[in-house]
């Protein structure tokens, strides 16, 4: 069974969160590897959208944002790497995920398609 999740995030709002909460926001939502690469609000917004898209695709609730990680390949393409409760939930569904992200101007978006062997 295929599932899909999509999310849209306003870049300026991510920038406002960083201005308001600083490293607390970044460290709570993003893994060290994500934060090391995504040093601009646009990249962080796309990754936040990706985490929300995964939650929607897999109907996840009560999982940490850091348990849904966007990993960047040398080619620049990105994959979803799951940890903890998110990983357990996805494994229970036999889910394989595909991710696409984009950002333009003040908006970032991400779409996730999940191929699930079990619902």
């Amino acid at each position: 069974m295929l599932r899909v999740g999509v999310d849209l995030v306003q870049v300026s709002r991510i920038a406002a969160s960083i201005a308001t909460f600083g490293e607390r926001f970044v460290q709570r939502v993003f893994t060290p590897a994500e934060a090391a690469y995504a040093t601009t609000p646009e990249r962080l917004a796309a990754r936040f959208a990706a985490k929300e898209a995964v939650k929607k695709a897999l109907e996840l609730d009560g999982v940490a944002w850091r348990d849904i990680e966007v990993a960047r390949r040398a080619s620049g393409a990105c994959d979803v790497v799951l940890h903890g409760a998110a990983r357990a939930a996805a494994d229970a569904m036999g889910a394989r995920l595909a991710l696409s992200m984009s950002h333009e101007g003040d908006y970032a978006t991400a779409m996730v398609v999940a191929s699930c062997e079990r619902s």
């Binding site: 999310d7 709002r13 969160s17 607390r24 926001f25 709570r28 609730d61 009560g62 409760a85």
Partner: protein, 83 residues
């Protein structure tokens, strides 16, 4: 209204990006229906953690925990129990 509920309403007013006045919301009104996005709920969570000196454990990062003033109030009560 409890002191905590007042603090929570103020945080929602500042960070919740609600389309309605937080002080006019009912305790059980749906905050997502009132305009709070997933991203805004992160800001609300971080502001709550700062205000009440708590940290929401991962298992409490549920949509239901942030869906109403009453739900947030009981979560804060749970996290500050015994203080």
């Amino acid at each position: 209204m409890s002191e905590n509920a007042t603090k929570i309403r103020n945080i929602l007013k500042e960070h919740g990006r609600l389309t309605k006045d937080a002080s006019a919301l009912g305790e059980r009104d749906d905050l997502y229906q009132a305009g709070m996005t997933s991203h805004a709920s992160v800001n609300v969570m971080l502001a709550l953690e700062g205000e009440f000196d708590v940290e929401f454990p991962d298992h409490m990062l549920k949509r239901s925990v942030f869906e109403s003033i009453a739900a947030i109030t009981s979560a804060i009560d749970e996290l500050t129990q015994g203080r």
